[in-house]
Amino acid sequence: MATDGFLIFENVTKRFGAHAAVDGVSVGVQKGEVFSLLGPSGCGKTTLLRIAAGLETPDEGRVWLDGEDITDLPPERRRVNTVFQNYALFPHLTVAENIAFGPRAAGWPRARIREEVDRMLALVQLTDQAGKKPRMLSGGQKQRVAIARALINQPRVLLLDEPLAALDLKLRQRMLVELDLIHDEVGITFVYVTHDQGEAMGLSDRIAVMNRGRIEQIGRPAEIYEAPRTGFVAAFIGDTNFLEGRVEEHLGDNYCRLGVEGFPDIECFNDTGRPPGEPVCLSVRPEKIRISRERPEPAPHVNVVPARVADAIYLGTHTRFWVRVGRHRVAVWQPHARFLLDERPIRWGDEVWISWHGDDGFMLERFSGADAALVATPPERIGAANGGVAP
């Protein structure tokens, strides 16, 4: 086993026809953590989850649970349970009978089943709905039945496939908190599939960002956001600007100088040691860039660039600016931490300065237009491909 962990996918590939839905995925989920599979629709999240559940057999690779190779075990013999995307509650059974399904199949004694069902009903706050059929329940209630029905079996790993996708926004936020509480209470390992970065960031201990059947990056939410390792991750999680350019020279202390057409020299952290001459895509998040009327005091490693405001949207907590540098558009989010009305606001057409620290830029491989189609808010694109993606 190359990867370690409690639930391990080792080089797992699953093809449907010629198309690889999951393509050589290796990942280890640690015991007790909430691990999210995050990626756009169709990237293979559900397929990977179904492979863990035993509902899909991988074409290549192995799956390990707690040191045991479970690749060839049928679903009923795996100690994992799934909360299905559309809940898949049994329509002919009541809430209590749905929850009791697993224990009955496992042949628990009657008294224990009753006791555990009651405990689960209390855990998901559905005690008063125990006798109802699923079709009488609201979306949020169905959701909780699905969770209770899975949890009662005391699985080693609980697999959740977009459990909140069918709920409206308010309910989604509440259920997210509830899921977090339930995880704290039962302490079971969660593998959580979602295409919603907000859910993944809020709930997860670690996130694996998937794209086209592959895992692009695994890390804690802050790592994924602050230090994306691929252009896709930078664009999929949060918003970002992409500046296409070229490494010019190394400056020592792990910094390098970048040339971007229309910009003065840009300094950037270069821990990956990209050699001079290499074409790169510099990702800078809009909220890391500062905007001001006056030229900021020069400071080490800080890039200062003159610009002109092309658009400004005031959103209360912050203002979103789009500024022009030469023929490029750059997004800048300016937070409002102080009383704003005493200041002279920056308006459309103003000449301004934008600045960011060299540590806030990430040099990534070039970002493809096909990837841009998969992300909710396409990044501001600078350089040769500018104009390909509308802001």
Partner: protein, 292 residues
């Protein structure tokens, strides 16, 4: 819209079909019931006045064996049809759409030929000199003296053949609507393939199975052509007795009395089905109130 409005509208929509049922089903049935209490006249018609003579006469004839045979054959036919139709209907629902169209066509294609002709075809197949017998004797599965035609198994075979499509179609329709993700959920929760089938799939297509049961059992109870053509002497069913009373004896009240008995016998399973289908009303009402 209020519940009252809804109810009134429901009535308006149901009324035409209700009238149709009354005129073409309920009224003739009641007529048949009524005729059982009229005397027979010597010319094959219905005499004047009312009498219990027919019922007394019917009570004297030993109908026990005929009723037993009718119920036994019908129940067996239903059971075998269901046993065949559940796997067939399920497979039909799960194959690729293009194949499905072809297979469905194969299920209904026999209906393009007259029922009588198909039963006669079975007579040829089962004939002592027929192909089936010869094959069975050649393979050594039957000795040359076995009688295929004019036997109770032959009646059963042809009945199953005749009613099978009526079982397959409703079960196919139910299986088509069944959400296969439920089977995965059952497996995920620890049920084996068989457990998932019995505890989730069968209840899921329950209505289809119920419809199939009624569609086979009720006409099977009334069948008389099949036992007449492929059954042996002394193997007639209630249907044959009715035909005999009506056509040979020309005694309409007696035929009516037997028909009434058969109708009551056929209504029994339907009433039972209706009882099974009705959900516990108290629970439903309470749940609806809470949902509102």
């Amino acid at each position: 819209m209020t519940a009252d409005h809804l109810r009134r509208e429901e009535w308006a929509v149901t009324l035409p079909s209700l009238g149709w049922l009354l005129a073409l089903f309920a009224a003739p049935t009641l007529l048949v019931f009524a005729v059982s209490f009229r005397p027979a006249d010597p010319y094959g018609g219905i005499g004047a006045g009312w009498t219990l003579a027919t019922l007394r006469e019917m009570a004297r004839t030993p109908l026990g064996p005929v009723i037993a045979r009718t119920v036994r054959l019908s129940a067996l036919t239903t059971a075998i049809c269901l046993a065949l139709a559940i796997p067939c209907g399920t497979c039909l629902a799960r194959v690729a759409p293009r194949r499905q169209a072809v297979l469905l066509l194969l299920v209904v294609v026999p209906f393009w030929t007259s029922f009588l002709i198909r039963v006669f075809a079975w007579r040829m197949l089962l004939h002592p000199e027929g192909p089936l017998k010869r094959v069975l004797v050649t393979v050594g599965l039957a000795d040359p003296h076995t009688q295929l035609l004019y036997s109770e198994p032959a009646v059963l075979l042809v009945m199953v053949y005749t009613f099978l499509p009526f079982a397959i179609l409703p079960i196919y329709a139910a299986a088509e609507k069944f959400d296969l993700a439920l089977l995965e959920a059952a497996r995920d929760l620890g049920a084996g393939p068989w457990g998932a089938f019995v505890k989730v799939f069968l209840p899921g297509i329950g209505r289809g199975v119920l419809t199939a049961t009624l569609m086979v059992l009720i006409p099977a109870l009334g069948s008389y052509v099949i036992p007449d053509l492929v059954g042996g002497p002394g193997q007639d069913m209630l249907g044959n007795r009715i035909a005999q009373r009506a056509f040979s004896d020309r005694n309409l009240p007696q035929a009516s009395a037997l028909s009434a008995a058969l109708t009551l016998a056929a209504l029994a399973p339907m009433a039972l089905a209706a009882l099974v289908q009705r959900r516990p009303p108290a629970l439903e009402a309470a749940a609806r109130k809470e949902a509102a």
